[in-house]
Amino acid sequence: MTATATLERTAAPIAAPAKVRRSRPGGASGKRRTIDWLLLLFAIAAGVVIVAPFYLILINSFKSPAEYATSGPLVPPTHLYFDGLEKFWERVNFPEKVWNSVFISGAVAVFAVLLSVLNAFAIGIGRVRGRTWVVLLFLLANLLPQEALLYPLYYMFKAVGLYNNVWSVIIVFTVIQAAFGTYLLSSVYGTFPKEVLEAAAIDGASRWQTLWRVIFPISRPTLSVLLIFFFIWTWNEFLIPLTFLVSNANQTVPVAISVLQGDRLMDVTTTSASALLGVIPTLLFFLIFQRTLTRGITAGAVK
């Protein structure tokens, strides 16, 4: 339960609506008093305040600096202007940065899930001795401030020639994300239906076969949710990519956009456009992954 609860927690923005509706057949019900409308209005106002920055960035990314100077930041553009976006897009070579981010985050997500499965198999299914401490040891990777590892890692990667190479970042985040994955999957596997495993053993499956032919497919819903979260978390990382990926050609989206802030060639609407380019991938994840997440959660995470 612990594990599914955590997953539900992290994934809930998208996952829970069905439940809300189910528990209250017919959706809206009850008398609506004035105070209810006022409170709803308050909730909507909070939403508007939270969305307002996105709106401002959106409308100003399509404005010319001249129009910004005359009509200000609050009104939508009278005609669309794409130069700011185009200028920034070309300046940072945006497709290259997107590819770097996708490659790094994708590789981390896959490797971290595989590593989590191996660790969790030993801890949750194998129930190795002192497993609570083993889990805690792994969690260390997630708990520590990255600064406490930063300089030694920087030095080590320089020594082995991985400095300024995307693989340095991939290795580091594989370990950091797998720490969380190990913690979560261990408790999921700890409650894995014993009958299924016994049946596999009777059929003569070895441990290795049981893991990949039985446990792995059955827990796939949980794993796909982990995969998506690892992807997004790695996409959002900043300090380590900033430190280890110094040349333009290797940078990730957040790093490339950040290092150009305050540059004297960045006029007001180009800066807005740069923020928009940083926001768009996130919005896309939100839209694309919505269904997978819901499926992952409703499939019941193994149980």
Binding site: P13, L143, P145, V175, F238, I257, S272, A275, V279, T282
Partner: protein
């Protein structure tokens, strides 16, 4: 963003250990349970290389003077002594306390109210669809990289013709308009605003998921007994989701102590030291001042504080749970 959920972890392993220490797969042959350690091998090797060795090395560096080129020179406790009297270091932790206000206290309080509002009122009287739409809206900034969130808010806070200043002028408060990030008085509150914006969705989502657990009849019964919204909120909502409040407080406090991106993007710790945070201070000692030993000392101090916070929270949570069980008896 924030992810070290200590979700009442202790309980189950303890109970499981008593009922069964046997592997879930019945084992044949001689290898027994020991063979499972092989599966941990890659994990342990990587953990050692990427976490354990660098961590130990970093602690060693705190006793040295190192500029990154010639071998480190042992100087004993000098870095630690300097740390204790370093005003910039203490300012950085003071600012961390403000980050905790912005990332833990404000989001938890507002999050509780909004989650309860969505669950108890909007969901019930205006339909689950409205409630989940609003929740998704609140959650949106949580998905942003913190550095990008900093850029978005920083753009709005631009000096002179920035969006916030224009808005203030439009409603006749033009005298309040100024250079928000360039003024030591308002730079820290500006960064706090970024963090509140980013963080607000997390507690709402967690709390709303937790509220699914609560029996709706409880609210209806309380309503029939004449309890008003505030009374229901305190007696039912807050009480039943206390474990989640603990988890949110712990994970967000740790995240608050680690803040780096928005400070790097918006102010680089300035003006002066008004927005310096430990993570950024350590970074600038490593790569700008080239005082690796001292940077390592700051990072180690931060690690100790984070570990202490985590332990304190877990102890407090266990204590609260024990008290609750005794109360029920």
């Amino acid at each position: 963003m924030t992810t070290v959920p200590f979700v009442r972890r202790q309980r189950r392993p303890a109970r499981a250990a008593r009922t069964a220490d046997e592997p879930l797969i019945p084992h044949r042959g001689r290898r027994g349970a020991r063979g499972y350690w092989l599966y941990l091998l890659p994990g342990f090797v990587l953990l050692a290389l990427i976490v354990i060795v660098p961590l130990a090395w970093n602690v060693y560096l705190t006793f040295t003077m190192w500029r990154g080129i010639r071998p480190p020179r042992w100087i004993g406790l000098k870095n630690w002594q300097h740390l204790l009297t370093d005003e910039k270091f203490w300012t950085s932790f003071q600012n961390s306390v403000w980050m905790i206000v912005a990332m833990v206290i404000i989001p938890t309080v507002i999050g509780l109210i909004l989650a309860a509002l969505l669950f108890d009122l909007v969901g019930r009287k205006f339909g689950g669809r409205t409630a989940s739409f609003l929740r998704a809206t609140y959650y949106l900034p949580q998905l942003l990289p913190a550095a990008i969130a900093g850029i978005v808010i920083g753009w709005i806070l631009r000096p002179e013709d920035g969006a916030l200043n224009t808005m203030l002028e439009n409603i006749g408060l033009g005298f309040l308009a100024h250079d928000w990030l360039g003024n030591p008085q308002t730079a820290l509150p500006s960064i706090m605003a970024v963090m509140v914006w980013v963080q607000i969705g997390y507690p709402i989502v967690v709390f709303m998921a937790a509220l699914q657990r609560v029996d709706p009849e409880l609210y209806e019964a309380a309503e029939l007994d004449g309890a008003n919204w505030w009374q229901r909120f305190r007696a039912i909502t807050v009480t039943s989701i206390r474990p989640e409040i603990f988890v949110v407080a712990l994970t967000c406090t740790i995240a608050a102590l680690k803040v780096f991106g928005p400070v790097y993007v918006l102010t680089r710790g300035g003006p002066g030291t008004s927005t310096i945070v430990p993570a950024y201070y350590a970074y600038s000692e490593f790569f700008q001042a080239q005082q690796v030993g001292y940077g390592a000392t700051i990072a180690t101090a931060l690690t100790i504080v984070i570990a202490a916070v985590a332990i304190l929270f877990v102890v407090a949570q266990n204590h609260a749970e024990r008290k609750e069980r005794e109360g029920q008896r």
